[in-house]
Symmetry: C2
Subunit: 153 residues, 2 copies
DNA sequence: CCCTGATTATTAGTGCACTAACTAATGGAG
DNA sequence: CTCCATTAGTTAGTGCACTAATAATCAGGG
């Protein structure tokens, strides 16, 4: 038994040892690091994620977007309203299924994608991270996500 | 040039490849996984983190707590007010420096620590994660945090 | 055809987290 | 001792994110 491995249950409550704490802080910090990069585009970080989803496919329903982002529809609705106010998307009831709301990019929204192409390299530079680092971390996060989702008994 | 390594700039905007997205989702998911464990203790996740800070040292000032949690004092103030309402902490001006507010555990707050001792093992079980996994991920998060903080030019 | 149950989106209400602006107290520099 | 920059905390206002409740629409079975 080395001193280094002497981990006692008492110490499990030390703040500095909490994974959940490190994870929360990392998330907040990284999102905060995006702010100055996204602000010139008129987007917040969650709004940026919505735009990513729409740049992949448009139109798509609120439900579809919320599934893609793993967010509740109730969270997505106000996000989309703000993007509509900003003239980046339109919201209209789907013909044939009046329950569903189609969200579609406007020309302005489509055009914003060109500026967005610069975001990932800028952020990787700002965070001093390589594609490989990012990819590895990404994998770890995905494992954690599926474990956490699975625990939702 | 293998096919696997054929990463083009165009693909950098794919939602599924965003580290920031995976990080946000992981943070939300893990915090959500804590909810059913913390709820019987009457704590939310951020409130739990505040209690961890106070179990390490009490009393400490609002400033001190907010530094420990890397949160703005404006975020911590309402958290502390709720913990005070719950009878877990007291808030009183520091003798000798009327600007500073001392936050101290009550007996009830101190006693809650016993229940909290069960939280880390429960969560590791729920997330199916070993101490080693957690420690490794923790390190990665810390690197990311310092990189993100450093980018705050 | 109508009733029932499921699906889709929104609203209301709670709690974080941030920035900016404010109040109050402190501690020097002149 | 007075003025003033600094420090500590709170308040106001914006935006997420969740749950629960509501409204509207749809699809199937009697």
């Amino acid at each position: 038994m080395s001193v280094d491995n002497d981990l006692r249950a008492e110490d499990d409550l030390l703040l500095e040892r909490q994974l959940c704490f490190a994870l929360s802080v990392a998330s907040r910090s990284v999102v905060a690091a995006y702010r100055p990069v996204l602000e010139p585009m008129g987007l917040t970080h969650p709004q940026y994620l919505v735009m990513l989803a729409l740049w992949e496919r448009s139109p798509r329903t609120v439900r579809d977007v919320s599934d893609a982002l793993l967010l509740e529809p109730a969270t997505v609705t106000p996000l989309l309203k703000r993007l509509e106010e900003a003239g980046l998307v339109t919201r209209s009831r789907q013909a044939g299924n009046e329950r569903a709301l189609d969200v579609a990019l406007t020309d302005k929204g489509r055009k914003l994608r060109e500026k967005a192409l610069g975001v990932p390299p800028t952020m990787m530079a700002r965070l001093g991270i390589t594609r490989e680092d990012a990819s590895e971390l990404h994998q770890s996060m995905m494992k954690l996500i599926s474990a956490a989702q699975a625990s939702r008994t």
